[in-house]
């Protein structure tokens, strides 16, 4: 992929015989390294963003454990809270929450590119779309907090 300087040879790959190219030349085909995404910051952020999927799945499983415990009775619910306060679960949840927040921030930032919103014949500026989504986050979070603690 990005073959930055410093290596002894510019790249790895294979020269291939003409292979039916119109020029009939012996082309050199660079190969993409398995670690291509570590070579540029933007690629690394991209792969981290995609890895947030693992932690989204974790929270679904975690919340299902919670619902299951709540359904089984008060003792099971309290045991769940104790288990959730154990160091490794806490650590996992901290990491997972960081990835979910990375997902939220990148998702909001990319939405204006992914959809052109037009209101009354005029394109809504990207910053308004982003602000709208953060407003949604605040409203939904406020509702969840109200619902579970009232």
């Amino acid at each position: 992929m990005t073959r930055s300087g410093g290596a002894t040879t510019p790249s790895r790959g294979t020269p291939t015989p003409s292979g039916g190219t119109p020029t009939g030349l012996r082309l050199y085909r660079p190969r993409v390294s398995t670690w291509w995404w570590t070579r540029k910051r933007s690629y690394l952020v991209f792969v981290m963003r995609e890895l947030s999927s693992v932690f989204v799945a974790w929270f679904v499983v975690y919340l299902l454990f919670l619902v299951h415990a709540v359904g089984r009775g008060e003792a099971a619910y309290l045991r769940f809270l104790d288990w959730a306060a154990s160091p490794w679960v806490t650590l996992l949840n901290v990491v997972a929450l960081a990835f979910v927040l990375l997902h939220a921030v990148t998702w909001f930032a990319l939405t204006p590119q992914a959809m052109a919103v037009r209101v009354a014949g005029r394109t809504v500026p990207p910053v308004h779309i982003i602000a709208g989504q953060y407003t949604g986050l605040v409203v939904v979070s406020g509702f969840v907090l109200w619902l579970v603690t009232r």
Binding site: V54, Y62, G73, A104, L137, V148, T149
Partner: protein, 116 residues
């Protein structure tokens, strides 16, 4: 479009799940993952939580949201395996990822139904 395709619909579910993960998941994760277990906030009492979970609206919302989150996660992880690790057995990866999402959706239904 002459043929009915599944890929665009999976992508639509992926997108809906992405919105849910961005808007709903941070508060749930922060509250139930850290704030309540670690005592930053007093955990809601069991009676109240059971009433919330048992409500039909909660059941429908959680079922829909969790299924979308699982599809979102499976779809994204599938492409992470293609791009990040350059796995070539694409069909196997797709079957495993979406298969896990389907199994997870079944488990979600079972758990929510039992608790409601």
């Amino acid at each position: 479009m002459s043929r009915r395709r599944v890929q665009p619909l999976v992508w639509l579910a992926f997108s809906a799940g992405g919105v849910a993960a961005a808007v709903l998941l941070p508060s749930l994760a922060l509250l139930f993952g850290l704030a309540f277990p670690l005592g930053w906030l007093d955990p809601p009492d069991h009676q109240h939580l059971l009433a919330v979970v048992g409500h039909p609206v909660t059941f429908v919302v959680l079922l829909g949201t969790f299924v979308l989150l699982l599809v979102h996660s499976a779809h994204r992880f599938r492409y992470t395996l293609y791009d990040g690790l350059q796995i070539k057995k694409k069909r196997t990866v797709a079957v495993l990822c979406y298969g896990a999402a389907v199994v997870g959706s079944g488990a979600t239904l079972a758990v929510l139904w039992a608790a409601a």
